[in-house]
């Protein structure tokens, strides 16, 4: 049981990070960025290029990856999404599928196919045993980072004018322009931030898995998506809670049942259940902003 909790927490946090990226974009543009996971993988390639290939410290690779992802997300918004203001949100989601395919093809083409790579961990060392599970320093770091991210996002969104603009843009994109906030910049920011958060998730989970290849984060993205949906798609706390829930469900179901595909099956089951019973997600009525105020 303790093991389930620890593992669920460790993985759930990563799913949360992907979910946060998904929620940010959803709030900003009302759509799902299906390339979110692959942007994370792409970030790993960039980080790898700096760290493993050019022997620079982890932090430089990580920063480069985050910057690249932010640029990629914002660039995609600028090149594609901003032209789709009037479009159905599902169409925008389809455009992100194009980005997904593009990134995978790009990685395969320009990073020597599916060569498997290994990223260095941000912190070396074996870690500590909790309920028989060895929790690595990276995993501790990812927990801390997720907490810091939550707090940081809360601060950013509530305490800065631009952050408030982001929140406002999600509520009324036209009115935001009428008070003089550059909506294009807000939207690009949200896409960029969402992409960067995904890279964070990918950087933190890679040492746990061990190696990466193109498509590395796609399954984790699907789980992050489930987490975001369970959390209601619009709520940042929902993303965190949903991520942990999906983590626990996955690990718990894998412990209790033994049939092929049990993890995905249980995740789909929980997601359907939540959607049918509480379509607005578990966190409906418990808005991010209120907690931030408290």
């Amino acid at each position: 049981m303790g093991q389930v909790l620890v593992l669920g927490l460790v993985y759930g946090v990563i799913y949360s990070l992907f979910a946060v990226g998904i929620v940010l974009v959803y709030r900003g543009s009302g759509t799902i960025n299906f390339a979110q996971g692959e942007i994370g993988t792409f970030g790993l390639f960039v980080a790898w290029w700096f760290t493993t290939a050019h022997h620079l410290p982890w932090i430089i690779g990580a920063v480069a990856a985050l910057v690249m992802a932010a640029a990629l997300g914002a660039g995609f918004e600028w090149a594609i999404v901003s032209h789709m203001v009037e479009a159905n949100r599902v169409s925008v989601a389809v455009a992100t599928i194009g980005l997904l395919a593009f990134l995978v093809a790009f990685e395969v083409r320009f990073f020597e196919g599916g060569n498997i790579r290994k990223m260095v961990a941000p912190i070396r060392g074996t870690g500590w045993s909790v309920f028989g599970v060895v929790v690595s320093p990276t995993q501790i770091l990812s927990l801390l980072a997720a907490g810091a991210l939550a707090a940081g996002l809360a601060l950013l969104l509530k305490k800065t004018d631009f952050g408030l603009g982001v929140l406002a843009a999600a509520q009324d994109p036209v009115a935001v322009r009428l008070v003089g906030i550059p909506l294009a910049r807000v939207s690009a920011f949200v896409w960029g931030l969402g992409a960067a958060v995904s890279v964070l998730g990918a950087l933190f989970i890679e040492p746990t898995i061990g190696v990466f290849t193109p498509g590395f984060a796609s399954e984790m993205f699907i789980k992050g998506l489930a987490a975001a949906v369970v959390g209601g798609l619009t709520s940042l706390e929902g993303a965190f809670v949903g991520g942990l829930l999906i983590g626990f469900v996955e690990v718990g179901a894998n412990r209790v049942f033994d049939f092929p595909g049990v993890k995905m099956f249980s995740i789909l089951f929980v997601m359907l259940l939540v959607l049918l019973v509480k379509p607005d997600g578990l966190m409906e009525g418990f808005k991010f902003r209120r907690r931030a105020l408290a």
Partner: protein, 646 residues
């Protein structure tokens, strides 16, 4: 020559079906090229099936290849020598049925979910199908896979792909034809209706749940057949054959081709299926080798962001530019013409008629209706009755709950308490579409028409309740569907000529002016000769002249056509002009009821409008309540017409 244009694709395909075996035998194109072509035909069939779901019914599926997988695996079970050993032609209907059944199950969540949520669930389904179902030994032998023999007729084997192309092309023509039958019967119109607005569709008698599931089932059946084609063209499938990325490819094909466009989707399917091959096999294109996915992905992004209608729209636009110049900017606002006097159509379900009612029973009555939205009491124990052959007005200040009351009476929302009676029958438990079938017609504050459909098609959609033929008849065009459709078309034409709209008959409604749309909307309501007509602010957006004219037409409806009318209207002079009785709704309660001229002079009514402190407080409370749903919440709530109006 339009008929030629209409059937050019089937013609092309039939020519392909005939020529392929000949060409193949003459040594034209190698076997592998034929295989690529066969695969392209299969993808076209699959894309048509997804197009039906996404393009027509507006239900997204990101796991559509799982349905194809079902078809392929079932076909394998039926035809492979070591199991079924039955002919290909026997497998096809089985695949269609199984595909339909699986799609039905996949469609169940769609009754509650929509848009991106549905997308997410279908992804989950694709994964689970891949990891759990398709791995079942009986179905696929796991990754060891199963052999799907090419058809054998007597001793003739279709093992050459060029020969098999004949069968594939014929199957694609069949799917094309079924798809076409969908679009030109009530099915396609109903799908279109629910895609645009379920409430509007329901008001025309379309049961959104039934038709959503139907879209899934028909699409699933097509996908089942396409899956069988897929399996037999490759002659092999295993559990790795239906990956999620292939589902995404299908979505890409359909979107790039143009949602809802048969021809565009087929062209796009051929493009994506053959693009990589072309790059690899044409020597001067070698520099692009290995870039096919990059280019395909970039093309997708470009298309959705710059040409959302896909290839089909780009093609259409270039043709439109040739044919007509800029749209007619100075379109004149038409006066409301004399409304069509349509007899009660044959084929209507059994229902009590107005004539059968005893004199004192109102045609439509609401008893003690209460509706609560969260903490807000939108309507509170309101009752009203609409006597036969009268025009009854319902007025009230903004936010009084008029539209809510309307929605409760027409069945678009379920009141928390109260009873609705139509023609003396308790219809409280009946959904909107069933009330429409009983003879309730209504319009919406915003125009309730399918904008992409032509005027004729809207009038056909409006006659959904009398399109009394079965789904199978619609799909096959055998049985009553043809004659019924002909009858409906005649009625639509009659209504159009009564409205004087002949020149707009084939114009998409969204190209008409607001006033013209209002006229079409009224025509749509009247075309089935409903017993009671509920009109929600019909004069909104009309010029004063047209509004005056509306009054005449409303009286015509009552006097000449014998209709009973319930009218929400903010144009008080109009109300005073036409109404026989007037109800005033304020703060969700019926404030007054009586003869119009008397009612509007009552001090409490004036106060309700003018705002004595008390009255003002109510109004303000409502405005406040109204502000609540304005919150930006993109959650996929059931979007009622009322919600959309805000």
């Amino acid at each position: 020559m339009t008929w030629l244009r209409r059937i050019r694709f089937p013609l092309l395909l039939m020519a392909g079906a005939t020529l392929a075996p000949l060409l193949g035998r003459a040594g034209f194109l190698s076997e592998s090229k034929w295989l690529y072509l066969g695969v392209a035909v299969t993808y076209a069939a699959a894309a048509l099936s997804l197009n039906l779901l996404m393009g027509y019914a507006g239900q997204i599926s990101l796991g559509h290849f799982a349905l194809l997988g079902t078809g392929a695996l079932v076909s394998g079970v039926v035809t492979s020598a070591d199991r079924g050993g039955l002919p290909f032609m026997v497998a096809l209907p089985v695949c269609a049925i199984v595909g339909g059944v699986v799609a039905f199950v996949l469609g169940l969540p769609a009754l509650r979910l929509r848009g991106l949520y549905l997308a997410v669930i279908t992804i989950g389904f694709a994964y689970v199908a891949d990891q759990t179902i398709f791995k079942l030994n009986y179905l696929s032998h796991g990754s060891a896979g199963i052999h799907l023999p090419r058809p054998l007729v007597n001793t003739f084997s279709f093992s050459r792909t060029s020969d098999f192309m004949g069968i594939l092309c014929v199957l694609l023509v069949v799917i094309w034809q079924v798809d076409r039958n969908v679009t030109r019967t009530k099915l396609g119109r109903a799908f279109h209706g629910i895609r645009i607005d379920e409430s509007v569709a329901a008001s025309f008698g379309v049961d959104p749940r039934r038709y959503k599931l139907l879209a899934f089932v028909i699409s699933g059946a097509m996908a089942g057949v396409a899956g069988s084609m897929y399996g037999h063209v490759y002659m092999f499938v295993n559990n790795e054959s239906f990956g999620f990325e292939k589902s995404l490819l299908l979505v890409i094909i359909v979107v790039v081709g143009g949602l809802g466009s048969r021809a565009g989707v087929i062209v796009s399917a051929f493009f994506y299926a053959l693009f990589g091959v072309v790059l690899t096999h044409i020597s001067w294109l070698h520099i692009f080798r290995g870039f096919d996915i990059l280019i395909g992905a970039a093309l997708l992004m470009y298309t959705v962001s710059r040409h959302p209608g896909g290839l089909a729209q780009a093609f259409q636009e270039s043709r439109d530019r040739e044919r007509r110049g800029t749209p007619d900017e100075e379109a004149e606002e038409p006066a409301l013409p004399k409304l069509p006097e349509m007899p009660r159509p044959s084929g209507l379900p059994e229902r009590p008629t107005v004539e059968g009612l005893s004199g004192s029973v109102p045609v439509l009555a609401a008893h003690e209706i209460s509706v609560r939205f969260g903490g807000l009491q939108a309507v509170n124990a309101a009752s009203l009755a609409v006597p036969r052959n009268k025009i009854v007005g319902l007025i009230g200040p903004n936010g009084a709950g008029k539209t809510t009351m309307f929605n409760a009476m027409s069945g678009l929302l379920k009141p928390n308490a109260g009873k609705v009676e139509l023609l003396g029958q308790d219809v409280s438990e009946m959904p909107a579409h069933a009330r429409a079938r009983l003879g309730m017609g209504r319009t919406f504050q915003l125009i309730g028409l399918a904008g992409d459909l032509s005027v004729t098609e809207n009038l056909l959609l409006a006659q959904h309740v009398v399109a009394s033929y079965g789904v199978l008849s619609a799909l096959t065009q055998i049985g009553p569907s043809r004659s019924v459709e002909r009858e409906l078309r005649d009625r639509a034409a009659e209504a159009i000529s009564a409205l004087g709209f002949e020149r707009f008959a084939n114009t998409p409604v969204k190209r008409l002016s607001h006033g013209q749309q209002r006229i079409v909307e009224l025509g749509c309501v009247l075309v089935t000769a409903p017993e009671v007509v509920m009109l929600d602010e019909p004069s909104a957006g009309m010029s004063p002249g047209a509004a005056e004219n509306l009054a005449v037409r409303l009286r015509d409806m009552r006097d000449d056509l014998g209709r009973t009318i319930l009218l929400i209207e903010h144009n008080i002079p109009l109300v005073l002009d036409v109404c026989d009785e007037l109800y005033v709704l304020s703060g969700g309660e019926i404030l007054a009821h009586g003869l119009p001229d008397e009612v509007v002079q009552r001090p409490d009514v004036i106060a309700a409008y003018l705002g004595e402190p008390a009255a003002a407080a109510i109004v303000e409370a409502e405005a406040e309540a109204e502000a609540t749903p304005v919150k930006a919440k993109p959650a996929p709530r059931k979007r009622t017409r009322a919600g959309a109006a805000k």
